[in-house]
Amino acid sequence: MPDVEAFAPQYASIRHRDETAELGMWVFIATEVLLFGGLMLGYIVYRHAYPTAFAAAGRHTDIVIGTANTAILLTSSFLVACAVDAFAAETRKICITLLSGAILLGLIFIVLKGIEYSDEYREHLVPGINFSFEPANADGAQLFFVFYFVATSVHAVHMLVGIGLLAVLARLTYRSPDSRHRAALHSAALYWHFVDVVWIFLFALIYLPGRST
């Protein structure tokens, strides 16, 4: 086994090392929950203050791209969860294929987001650059789109970091599929799933309001 002595002296065993890595990733995710939580608190307060404008602004978002991107991200999470399951020397090619699929879906998500941003620029929905909206709801809609652009771009940066992590781990899996890299892939997978969870809530807050009126 290549794993003999594969852990630093502060750990009692490989399992101890892997559990520590997992708990560390959960602590990091807790800080991320509060980063996005602060954004969502701002959204709740302003949606409460401008309910009609937030509904009108929500109707201007692209529900087709938003829904497609949600399905894409959920599927990429599924592929990453499968890759963690398939991580072993005998099945490393399958693991790498699954990771490549997840990376490709992540890139498609980013491209669709870019198309959406450029459509919104053309529709004069970018606050501070070219914003114009029906006067009765302009103030509240502008706050909605500030939240929209800040939250989705911070999320997109997380996606890019995640795509980079998955690419590095696909390479490491190819070179040496040992237990250390399995633990690393597991931590990266937790991060990727968390970015998926953030999007689930952004989707509900951004794309769904105002559709029934």
């Binding site: 559990e19 997992e22 708990l23 959960w26 602590v27 995710i29 807790a30 800080t31 991320e32 929950v33 509060l34 939580g37 602060g38 969502m40 608190l41 709740i44 307060v45 409460h48 203050a49 529900i63 829904t67 949600t70 399905a71 959920l74 599927t75 999470s77 599924f78 990453v80 969860a81 499968c82 399951d85 398939a86 005998e90 099945t91 090619k93 399958i94 997978a189 937790l190 799933h193 968390f194 998926d196 969870v197 689930i200 809530f201 989707f203 509900a204 807050l205 769904l208 309001p209 559709r211 029934s212 009126t213």
Partner: protein, 91 residues
Amino acid sequence: MTRWRPPLPLVAAWLVLLALLATTVTLAYRPLGSFNVVVALAIGTLKAATVAAVFMELRHRGPRTLLFAGAGLFWLGILLWLGTMDFLTRT
């Protein structure tokens, strides 16, 4: 290449997530008044719980990992509770 099949719980969770996505989009177009946002957030929470339990493997983890995973939600609860208290209760 050794045969590998995706585990059934992962496939089931993926299909459930896509079904929930279709449900939430469909219900968003139904005039439910103030319940629209409740439905959207309830389905969102259900999706997040599915991802956490199955994809993030929390269903196989003991109390220690659940404590670490729950800590973020605990602080988020305080943030949202104290942050919205004034705005949601002021008449």
